[in-house]
Symmetry: C2
Subunit: 218 residues, 2 copies
DNA sequence: CCACCAACATACCAACCAGTCTGCATGATC
DNA sequence: GATCATGCAGACTGGTTGGTATGTTGGTGG
């Protein structure tokens, strides 16, 4: 007598908006990866955070690795562009030191960022030694970041606002290292004071890059 | 008629040296954790790298977490003491800036360290937001590290070799952030040139901490 | 020489994991 | 209005995971 019941309870009317589904997946996956790391982020956990199913995920992404690549190239890279490269582009008529100080000061110190640290560092630390495909993609971001800073510094050297005795690429990498380093310290301390102290130190160092005779700090 | 055969093939004469067994486990676990991260390091993989069995592991360590704590407190902490705190102690009669420059220059840039980065940063990045017990133990190390540097700087200020206008704790944390930051960059780039450039930048910055009138770089 | 305990060895387990497979609804096309 | 590809839904699978239960030694005190 057992009638084979079809137990397919539709959860919601199908969206039929594949691009939107893809974006939802990407965002949820990013949050999970940001929190637990790529390796420890579970596919099922990601799906549970959305109303998307496994079928949809593997329709849009070939594998978990492919999902990771998309996170790096579409979300993490975009964050760097948004926070560093575009502001540097926008302030092409200003003193680059001022622009950099403004950018560093604008990095949010809210509890979320404090807890999770910098997504770029997180992924790089976890994956770059294990997975060459991840490493290459992450390095592109680091490179673009440093190159953006270096370009601004070179312009400043040309315009006379930045000391001419320093090598732009080296100084740019130094700034990146400082930011990333304090990001690590603040994340471990889970304390906004650590981060604010770091900002202060970095800003002070940035000021020391001004060309002698250039405007002093306002 | 099936006689229950005892299939216990002894692998080697029992060592009967529990402390040695514990150390072997710790070292193998450290290597695995260093490579793959704590969460992704598998118990079975660790055991496969030694000739120790699961029974022995769970005799010496209550859980995987306990094993992680031991790695932090007995291996990672010891590395920091060995590389930073003891050299600073030993050079109590020297200029602390010279001592710090020597220490930074002595950080190995070989392919192994380059690949894996700094174990302290690796663990902190992975665990500090997920697991309070890990975070607390790691923070103790960071704190001791910074405090060791700060003490040396204070002594230098007292003796007149270090600028008096800087706050020792802040400067110490800045140095730590720089080292950790370049550690991240070098690990991602997988390139010794990045690390050497970082050393150069850090040494240059350290030199700028000398008190005016104090001996110039030799 | 026997009891006992530290120090393991090994089989086993439930939970979880990334990934697959089959099926089905829906809008576009002819 | 039949056909078909797109865009999924969801059960299932083989392998791996940390952890446990139970057994087995070698040394040692009595």
């Amino acid at each position: 007598m057992l009638v084979a019941r079809k137990n397919l309870k539709r959860r919601a009317p199908r969206l039929r908006d594949p691009e939107r589904t893809r974006q939802r997946l990407l965002q949820a996956a990013f949050r999970e990866v940001y929190r637990y790391g790529f390796q420890s982020a579970g596919i099922d956990t990601i799906l549970a955070a959305t109303d998307v199913t496994k079928g949809a995920l593997y329709y849009h992404f070939e594998s978990k690795d492919a999902l990771g690549y998309a996170i790096i190239e579409e979300i993490v890279a975009e964050m760097t562009r948004d926070r560093w490269l575009r502001p540097l582009q926008r302030s092409k008529d200003k003193d680059p030191i001022d622009a950099l100080i403004g950018i560093v000061r604008a990095i949010p110190a809210g509890p979320r960022n404090l807890k999770g640290g910098c997504p770029l560092v997180n992924l790089a630390q976890e994956m770059s030694q294990l997975h060459e495909q991840f490493r290459k993609r992450l390095e592109r971001i680091f490179h673009a970041w440093q190159e953006g800073i270096a370009m601004a510094l070179r312009r400043g050297q040309h315009e006379g606002t930045v000391r001419r005795d320093l090598v732009a690429e080296e100084t740019a990498s130094f700034l990146v290292a400082m930011v990333e380093g304090y990001e690590v310290l603040a994340k471990n301390a889970q304390d906004a004071k650590v981060w604010n102290m770091g900002i202060g130190n970095i800003v002070g160092w940035l000021s020391s890059l001004r060309a002698p005779g250039s405007r002093k700090r306002g």
